[in-house]
């Protein structure tokens, strides 16, 4: 496959079929871990790791898969890599592991990963699968960071736990609560649909 179409595969994940902003997949971590930048970034990177690994493995065994055992194999692969990611966080980033809690193991049921295994990796070669995983993962991470930037800035006046807002700023406590997550994401999605409608017409 030419490098141009590989590039296209990569950028598709960033905007045209961005998993969070366009396909509305993987909403649960998107809403749950975006109260601050650090957990959001950790989550994004973990998802990239799992997505790349599972796409590679699925792509390698795509010709051996039996149709009715397909989903089981996907789940098994994903669960293995999620466990590895979880152990890594527990060992080297214990604070993040505590902050993310059950949302790391919940990557197993993240529709993005099983969706990519089904739609891309089980049909295409290793290289394309890796690029696709990186694109989708990057798109997911970007969307998470966008949401987390807004929420952390407004909820605490900080970014990466460093104060950035002027002293007169009153933190919006609501932004740190579940309601902040839902409303911010709702407004971002509205903005996205305004932008896409404009570029269409």
């Amino acid at each position: 496959m030419s490098s141009q179409s590989l590039g296209k595969t990569f950028t598709a994940g960033l905007w045209d079929s961005n998993p969070v902003l366009r396909l509305l997949l993987g909403m649960c971590p998107t809403l749950a871990v975006t109260a601050a930048m650090k957990p959001a970034l950790t989550m994004g990177l973990s998802v990239i790791f799992v997505l790349v690994c599972s796409n590679i493995v699925v792509s390698l065994m795509r010709n051996l898969l039996k149709p009715h055992l397909r989903i089981l194999m996907f789940t098994l692969t994903i669960a293995t890599f999620v466990t590895i990611a979880d152990l890594y966080l527990k060992a080297f980033l214990p604070d993040m592991s505590a902050a993310l809690g059950p949302y790391i193991p919940l990557i197993i049921v993240n529709c993005i990963i099983i969706g990519r295994a089904e739609a891309c990796a089980s049909k295409s070669g290793v290289l394309v699968s890796i690029v696709d995983a990186l694109g989708m993962g990057a798109g997911f991470t970007l969307a998470l960071c966008l949401l987390a930037t807004i929420r952390e800035l407004l909820a605490t006046g900080k970014l990466f736990e460093t104060p950035v807002m002027p002293s007169w700023f009153t933190p919006w406590a609501g932004m740190g609560m579940p309601v902040g997550a839902f409303v911010t994401l709702g407004l971002i999605l509205a903005l996205v649909s305004v932008i896409t409608n404009k570029s269409k017409s």
Binding site: M27, C28, G101, L106, V109, I114, M177, V183, A190
Partner: protein, 195 residues
């Protein structure tokens, strides 16, 4: 009497105070996607309640007999997801064979349930909260399903009426649903502190 008290508190806690959908963001995908009509939402809720009760109880038993305190703990996530996938399959086969009418009404949701984060989430929370008793685990599992049904039915009711409302163009669909969900979580916050 004391047991009943604990169980009742656990039940109310999981249904309204720590509602998985509205405070832990679990099972958001079907919550936003499927809940367009109340009867569909209720069917989905019933299917989830059924599977989550089964899966929660089974994973709790497996966790406590084989995993906790042994080196096998590293296999927890693998075990849980396989139990859930198996439970979903079993329920599907059982319903198709013995209750075809019931299967028709909510069987279509069953394959979706394997990747419903509310189910795996509940199993993980049972482990995280260090639930020590089987009856409490069963009550929490069933309560989680009922909480999910409650949330998804409320949402479906609101969305049925929203079809009649004049929503600004770009806000139609997912954005307005998310904002409605946000307001719902605010309402449910009123239950916090009850127990």
């Amino acid at each position: 009497m004391d047991t009943l008290h604990t169980l009742l508190l656990a039940f109310i806690g999981i249904v309204v105070v720590n509602n998985l959908v509205l405070t832990k963001f679990l099972g958001i995908c079907p919550y936003l996607g499927v809940s367009g009509r109340i009867d569909m939402a209720f069917g989905m809720g019933c299917a989830v309640t059924f599977v989550v009760t089964l899966a929660g109880t089974l994973t709790w038993i497996i966790d406590h007999t084989f995993l906790i305190g042994t080196p096998l703990e590293v296999m927890r996530y693998l075990c849980f997801i396989l139990v859930i996938a198996g439970a979903v399959q079993l329920v599907e086969m059982y319903l198709r064979k013995f209750f075809p009418s019931l299967y028709e009404s909510f069987g279509i949701f069953l394959p979706l349930i394997t990747t419903n984060c509310a189910i795996l989430g509940l199993c993980l929370f049972l482990n995280l909260w260090e639930i020590k008793r089987l009856d409490e685990a069963v009550v929490l599992s069933a309560g989680a399903g009922i909480g999910f049904t409650l949330a998804i039915c409320i949402m479906a009711g609101i969305r049925e009426n929203m079809e009649l409302a004049d929503v600004p163009g770009p806000m139609r669909g997912a954005p307005i649903t998310l904002i409605t969900a946000g307001l719902l979580t605010l309402a449910f916050m009123g239950f916090a502190g009850m127990i």
